[in-house]
């Protein structure tokens, strides 16, 4: 079994999920077996405004541990991450980072802020 520890920068209680990566998909958004897919399948919310299609950065996560057990980031994911606020060397998009090791031990931080270029007010 793999283990995913989730830390929320907004102060929500930490969560720990144990799961079998071979049973992916767990939900229907993001790449099967991705952090987004795992979280949604375990009833933990992670923003994914584009539906988990690598078209926004609202599922930005920071990987604190276990990054090497995740799929490598594609050029498309890196292009998108370039536009994420609070980018770190271990930033990933939750919808794209797939857990590849059945015994992975991963810790991720969900940042408090994600990008939203347009003001949410209106004229």
């Amino acid at each position: 079994m793999a283990k995913l520890r989730v830390i929320f920068e907004n102060g929500d209680p930490e969560q720990i999920i144990e799961f079998d990566p071979a049973k992916a998909p767990f939900h229907h958004d993001g790449r099967p077996g991705s952090i987004l897919d795992i979280l949604l399948g375990h009833k933990i919310h992670l923003e994914h405004a584009c539906g988990g299609n690598c078209a926004c950065t609202t599922c930005h996560i920071i990987v604190k541990q276990g990054g090497k057990t995740l799929s490598e980031a594609t050029e498309q994911e890196e292009d998108m991450l370039d536009k994420a606020p609070g980018l770190t060397p271990t930033s990933r998009l939750g919808c794209q980072a797939v857990v590849e090791d059945p015994n992975a031990e991963i810790t991720v931080v969900i940042p408090k802020y994600t990008i939203n270029l347009a003001s949410e007010s209106e004229e």
């Binding site: 919310h45 405004a49 539906g51 004229e123």
Partner: protein, 236 residues
């Protein structure tokens, strides 16, 4: 888990429906408080699709120019696409809940260089407000290479032809293709005109469409020497 977003949910009323073809529709949405939505050309809203068993969020790009109210989203039927089916079932007067706008495939002002838009089908949606925005001010030459599987699926054709007729620096190039060779035609055209024809690598590109063909276009252009940040794309 029923929550789909932590962002403020906004409510719009379906004001009008326009069918472009039997499988492609635009709906026009008014914010419930009659304000105008603020967005950057190219952005999308994330609509809450209330299915019988759960609520999903699906992105729909704003296809109307900035400042227009009601605002427009454009979509087509997709096999197994529950979001589009749900939207096709909406009637005038229905409410739609959404968050956003979101997205980073945007163009807030015309690039300081020749700009090429390469799109197919309903992926014209993000590019239409970009062209409106760019055309409103001084701009370098712009070309819209737009592929669709029938003349009827070339959306907003009259509008782009009108732009081209009055603005000598805007070139509209529609292309009708078979479904299986949309991207082979677009790739061949891009290679012929913007890779093989000259050594100018100052152009900016905006690419949008469904599937891996957009990635192939990106790789063609970046591989030919165009700057990474000059090749903008969104893969649907």
């Amino acid at each position: 888990m029923t929550q789909t977003s932590t962002r403020p949910t906004r409510v719009a009323i379906l004001d009008r429906i326009v069918d472009h073809t039997s499988d492609t529709r635009s709906i026009f949405l008014s914010l419930a408080d009659n304000h105008k939505i603020r967005f950057v050309p190219g952005q999308f809203i994330s609509i809450a699709i209330a299915l019988a068993d759960e609520t999903r969020t699906r992105p729909y790009t704003i296809a109307s120019p900035v400042g227009e109210a009601p605002f427009e989203i454009c979509f087509n039927r997709v096999p197994g696409g529950r979001g589009a089916e749900w939207l096709f079932d909406r009637k005038v007067g229905d409410t739609v809940e959404f968050t956003g706008p979101y997205g980073t495939f945007t163009m807030d002002s015309a690039p300081a260089a020749e700009t090429i838009f390469i799109v197919e089908g309903t992926a014209i949606a993000p590019v239409r407000p970009m062209i409106h925005r760019a055309s409103a001010g001084a701009h370098h030459a712009m070309t819209l290479l737009y592929a669709a599987t029938s003349p009827e699926h070339l959306l907003y054709r009259a509008e782009f032809e009108s732009f081209a007729a009055r603005d000598g620096t805007f070139h509209f190039e529609p292309m009708v293709t078979q479904p299986h060779d949309v991207y082979s035609r677009l790739l061949a055209e891009a290679e012929r005109r913007w890779v093989a024809a000259d050594s100018d690598r100052s152009r900016h590109f905006y690419l949008c469409g469904v599937g891996k063909g957009i990635i192939a276009l990106r790789d063609l252009l970046r591989g030919a020497g165009y700057q990474r940040r000059s090749v903008h794309y969104e893969q649907w």
